[in-house]
């Protein structure tokens, strides 16, 4: 199967030639640039990397949404996770994304240098393997990520229960995407013309997972990540803008189904319960997070371990909270590129490869 066709340069060039004028015409009719939000951080990266963003810059303002897991994780959660690293007899297992995120006073990187046992894993399965191999020590897996990632973490928890492991814990900071989008749509200050919805979250929740957004009649397209996908998705959002009755368009049907991944949904419902959760920038959003269900409480780091984290302190002047909501551009932050750089990040938006600040920093002249 030639999935690489979605990276085909010739097809991309043909489509660009034909689609961009139509998108520009729409902007001309409105008398301003179109304001479209790409919710997913991987989309933000793909737009900048492929140059699709620059191709559209005349007529489309792409606004990064709350789709970088590390960036939307609340500072209290980050501080708590880092505080676990100091517990004796403890191994922290984490995705690489978390390593450099600055807590209020320290980071996992610094804790590792100070002697903490912090291990980067590719998958929750590997974290579980570390727990099996170290029965005398406690392994805490740091669960960050959205609907895409949470089922794999849920699998590791269920497996730990089946095996009777008593030294595997998960700190769940997992989040649900639709509630954050709903909060954005309902914020009148936003004036967004449409949404590019995250393709891989939609794999799990399905097209139908966006029913709330649909009921708000927003132009919205679920899109893939290859250059052809990106261009076509923007074009289809513009087409949707023309309609008065809108439905969420599945522009990624090779991977996303109407009902999503039912096995994963059932597993999430078994292992987690939906909870109110704090987000960076948004504050507490109702029913927007995944807490570990009572039946799996033995694996819940929050329930099993009380560790006093240091008092939470945000970097002075850091605008990450506004950036994740798409309310401010990184360029509006006084720290950007001066006190705050990828080498010395002050907020998570500069740390994560898909944080808006690090992407603005990496791509030509802040036009990314």
């Amino acid at each position: 199967m030639n999935l690489m066709a979605y990276r085909d340069q010739a097809l991309f060039a043909d489509l660009r030639q034909r689609m961009v004028p139509r998108i520009e015409a729409k902007a001309e009719t409105l008398g301003r640039k179109l304001r479209l939000m790409e919710v997913c951080g991987t989309h933000t990266v793909s737009f900048a990397k492929t140059g699709v963003k620059q191709s559209l810059a005349e007529s489309v303002e792409l606004i990064s949404g709350p789709g970088c897991p590390v960036c939307v994780t609340d500072q209290t959660d980050i501080d708590q996770m880092i505080a676990y690293a100091r517990l004796p007899g403890t191994i922290i297992a984490t995705f690489g994304d978390m390593m450099k995120v600055p807590g209020s006073t320290t980071s996992l990187y610094k804790e590792r240098a100070a002697g903490a046992d912090v291990r980067v894993v590719y998958s929750p399965t590997q974290a579980l393997a570390i727990a099996r191999a170290n029965p005398e020590r406690r392994v805490i897996f740091l669960g960050v990520g959205f609907e895409t990632t949470a089922p794999s973490v849920a699998l590791s928890i269920r497996q730990a229960k089946r095996e009777g492991l008593t030294n595997y814990l998960v700190y769940s900071a997992h989040k649900l995407t639709p509630p954050a989008l709903q909060a954005l749509v309902e914020d009148p200050a936003h004036q967004l013309d449409g949404f590019l919805l995250p393709g891989h979250v939609s794999v799990i929740i399905g097209r139908q997972g966006w029913h709330l957004l649909e009921s708000l009649n927003q132009p919205a397209v679920i899109g893939g990540f290859e250059p052809v996908d990106l261009l076509v998705s923007v074009y289809r959002i513009v087409q949707e803008m023309e309609r008065s009755e809108r439905s969420v368009i599945n522009g990624y049907p090779r991977i996303v189904q109407e009902e999503g991944n039912r096995v994963a949904q059932a597993l999430l419902a078994e292992v987690f319960t939906i909870a109110d959760t704090p987000w960076r920038g948004f504050g507490a959003l109702p029913a927007s997070g995944l807490a570990i269900a009572p039946a799996y409480q033995a694996f819940d780091a929050k329930a099993a371990l009380a560790v006093e984290p240091p008092p939470t302190r945000l970097s002075k002047g850091c605008r990450c909270g506004e950036v994740v909501k798409g309310k401010e551009s990184p360029l509006q932050c006084a720290l950007f590129g001066k006190a705050c750089t990828p080498e010395n990040p002050l907020g998570p938006c500069m740390v994560s490869t898909e944080g808006a600040c690090s992407i603005y920093f990496a791509f030509a002249g802040g036009t990314a």
């Binding site: 340069q9 492929t50 990828p342």
Partner: protein, 331 residues
């Protein structure tokens, strides 16, 4: 049999290690002389000296081991400076408990690599540290070479318009080393590119007068090496992503792990800054020297020390120095 603390105490076991393992493997008159120093013939011209310490997990990986790496790394550092490598010294810091057989394989591989590169290993030292205080084995190598034509190469000779050429595909070493840990297997061979480049570089320098500067993109990868050059010269360097040689199998591994090739280590690659008039001929020459994927990857322009990566879809990305080790990520 395993290495004991006594193998490093200067007594009978140390003597045994030297006479039974190191000396026969390295087979050099300077070692046979058993002096406290190697007494060596001098050569004319500028002397080049470099030192490097090697720390790697695992010690043995597809396509090489810490021993071949230690020789290669130091030989290549001399060669890219325009020197002809002549002598190496080697210091081993062994962790108590290392399999003697493993040490033997590594020493043998060092000796073979040195012979292939035409350099002599003329002095050595061994220490043993307690179990838990070392990662199996650390090696330090110091290299000495002579520069036949001083002033021939220098970062100050780089001019806007110069081209950037590389001798083959990138990120091969890093993926070979990572593959075991990450549980990766491959449909085609993936090996470290670990190889001494001194003969190749010597041949290039003889034929191409406009080579201005060379550097081997080891730790930090192509991006960090070129960014350093950009910062030091104050010029920009523009790379074409589509021209950067990366084998599909390597690209596949990196996408699976969430890593990018630009910051990953190479151990048999050289970046060459060459005048535009000779760039194409240099690429042809490299390809004839068994470097099939050699290519022109970018050029130097007037600028302010930026390293740009031009994507095939019209985007442009500013590559920084590597910030910390590359970590696999989920997003």
């Amino acid at each position: 049999m395993r290495i004991l603390l006594a193998h490093g105490d200067g007594g009978a076991l140390t003597h045994q290690l030297v006479t039974k393992l190191f000396r026969p493997a390295f087979a050099d008159a300077a070692l046979e002389a058993e002096g406290d120093s190697a007494l060596l013939a001098s050569q004319t011209g500028q002397m080049a000296v470099t030192t490097d310490s090697f720390v790697i997990d695992p010690l043995e990986f597809p396509g090489g081991d810490i021993g071949s790496l230690a020789v290669t790394g130091t030989v290549n550092d001399l060669a890219v400076s325009g020197a002809v490598p002549a002598y190496l010294t080697v210091g081993f810091i062994v962790e108590e408990g290392l399999e003697l057989e493993c040490l033997r394989r590594i020493v043998t591989s060092m000796a073979q690599t040195a012979r292939a590169a035409g350099v002599r290993i003329v002095a050595g030292d061994t220490k043993v540290v307690e179990k838990g205080k070392g990662d199996g084995l650390f090696i330090n190598t110091t290299g000495i070479g002579w520069v036949p034509e001083s002033g021939r190469l220098g970062i100050g000779l780089i001019q806007p318009g110069d081209r950037v050429v590389i001798n083959g595909p990138i990120a091969e070493h890093a993926v070979a080393v990572l593959s075991g840990r990450a549980g990766l297997q491959f449909a085609e061979p993936v090996q470290s590119d670990c190889a001494p480049l001194n003969r190749l570089i010597h041949a290039m320098l003889e034929q191409f007068r406009t080579i201005r500067f060379m550097r081997d993109p080891t730790r930090g990868g192509v991006a960090t090496t070129l960014k350093e050059i950009a910062l030091q010269t104050g010029f920009d360097i523009a790379l074409e992503e589509a021209l950067l040689p990366v084998r599909p199998v390597i690209r596949g591994a990196l996408e699976l792990l969430g890593l990018e090739p630009y910051y990953l280590a190479n151990e048999g690659k050289v970046l060459i800054i060459v005048g535009p008039e000779e760039a194409d001929r240099l690429v042809d020459f490299l390809r004839q020297q068994d470097q099939a994927m050699a290519g022109l990857i970018g050029q130097v322009t007037i600028g302010t020390g930026n390293l740009w990566l031009q994507t095939p879809f019209g985007g442009r990305r500013n590559l920084s120095l590597m910030a910390g080790a590359p970590l696999p990520r989920i997003c």
